[in-house]
Symmetry: C2
Subunit: 382 residues, 2 copies
Amino acid sequence: MRVLILGGDGYLGWPTAMYFAARGHEVRTIDNYLRRTLAQQTQSEALMPNPNLPDRAAIFRSVSDLDITVDIGDVADYRTLSRIFQEFQPEAVIHYAEQPSGPYSMIGYDEARLTLNNNLNTTFNVIWAVLEHAPDCQIVKIGTMGEYGTPNIDIEEGWLEVEHKGRKQKFLYPRQAGSLYHTTKVLDTDLLWFYVRTFGIRVTDLMQGPVYGLSTEEADLDERLLPNFHYDDIFGTVVNRFLVQAVAGVPLTVYGKGGQVRGYLNLIDTMQCVYLAATKPAGRGELRILNQFTETFTVNELAEKVREAGKEVGLDVQVKSIDNPRKEPEEHYYNPAHSGLLELGLQPHYMTTEVLVGMLEKVMRYKDQIDTRKIMPRVRWK
Amino acid sequence: MRVLILGGDGYLGWPTAMYFAARGHEVRTIDNYLRRTLAQQTQSEALMPNPNLPDRAAIFRSVSDLDITVDIGDVADYRTLSRIFQEFQPEAVIHYAEQPSGPYSMIGYDEARLTLNNNLNTTFNVIWAVLEHAPDCQIVKIGTMGEYGTPNIDIEEGWLEVEHKGRKQKFLYPRQAGSLYHTTKVLDTDLLWFYVRTFGIRVTDLMQGPVYGLSTEEADLDERLLPNFHYDDIFGTVVNRFLVQAVAGVPLTVYGKGGQVRGYLNLIDTMQCVYLAATKPAGRGELRILNQFTETFTVNELAEKVREAGKEVGLDVQVKSIDNPRKEPEEHYYNPAHSGLLELGLQPHYMTTEVLVGMLEKVMRYKDQIDTRKIMPRVRWK
């Protein structure tokens, strides 16, 4: 299968490119280094060095004999995306080409506008490239569980059957997200749903929880193939940040009461989910929405897991509640469905002490690179 | 009250500017003539000539002794909008600065992208100008009943209390619109709702049905003060189009079966609704959503009304069903609530034969200007 990966330089994009290549698919990827640029601008560089994308493709080729074709360019530029679609004729396009940080989107006007325009225009361009150049190509889009927010009723997978005054209607599950970044994903979903029902394109929208992990079969082939690993308050996801804090000997920063529940998944499971979505495609005119996580914890439970794992490797991990920089409920009902991907064949890798210990050991090798100034919240929702 | 009207050159914007000025408010307005430009590009010019905005303000001043300050500029350009907010310190901002045509947004990539970017960025800029320069200023935003689409359950005013598995949650009423233009209004609502609940701004979002009419107290002072009146398939609303077809002696073009129900209102009532929204403002942190129409008809009923009115002025009006260029249900359930604006004090002006006759008489004076090539659908949802 010809698979086009948009945002191939990212934490998920790069491992995904290797994952598909390793399974015999023809992979082409494009990235404009937006996340790298923004991370540098906000002093949020990743922990380990990441070679540029063509260099990583060359390293991967040297250890695996597999090709990944790289384009450096902007998916929000339709001329670029059209050219690649016409040349490559993808059968599946995996869309990661978005500004991925909630805190970044809440810094101020410029950051919010960049996030809105980048994320909407990349999604819009993907839709149109499919419509104009590859109408049977399926779109696999990464949404977020954050689109749903934390409603007081069960979160279903994408859709909700509403009974109202004796009549029934199935709707997109109503969404209300906690940051502008998460809101752009809500807008993406609205946009995709319009074009799916009007023009019959094929879309799987994956509502993903926070991802953790440093290891995939392919990334483990060479240290330089590691996914980029941000541990700061802006681009770092919570588990990765906690692990670095544990290694750095600073307290894990729990925001507020720490009762916030989220659905987490291992990077290896993201690979599986995206692969399942692409190889078991949505039908024509179908917007298939799947909730992508394997288990739920409160932030306090997560901190406790990291503390336990720390003990195993001789780290005395402290946990400290700090003033919540975000505007979010710190205790709430949360019961999201997540059976769709299991039914497609997902084999979950849970967050065991062993998994966390493996990550801690990897991070410990880079202990000298940790810059603890990047850990405390620098962006407030105000 | 200092009232800033965005999109002051438009069918609603210009009458609104005069309406507020006539009631003693300080009015400033901005427009970049986007609709005029697009209408010209698509050969969809209005029926009557409309002087440019400064000229109209001068004419209005000469007949009323009232001032309307005019800026020519782009609301999507934040520098421009910021400057005006800082100078004028508006207490209410009425946001009409959007690409307003469904068919235009469905022509192709360029038109769709322009609609998406213009409408999202103007709304985004209004939000930020309020946040940064006038946090207590209320936003009155024109949405559309088209945001809801035609669900099989009653349409409530903006919100829906959902009971699901024994628990309850109030959500934004789920939306699914019929064109990209209407979808941008859905995205606007999502965006406004995020910033309202996160930063406590004050917003009234008016879900408006198709408007008809040529007459307001102020527009009637001088023929050159008429609102711009489009009758083509792209920028013309259905009632206006039918009236021009009646006068031109061409059949009224009913799309498909004609069972499509919509909620309509008279231009005079739009003025009232916007005025009520601005002078009886939403509270801090409130997104007040009101459904803005006074009565519902099917397209067939509407055609019949125009036929009846035509008889009164000696026109033999024909009605012809044509292949529907849009993708929409032609027969459907439709029961939208609309009590909110009545409770605020709206005095409805219904679509009587007398009202339609008045419009027909006005259109008949411009009969020679009618270009019947502009009437048949030129844009298809395909």
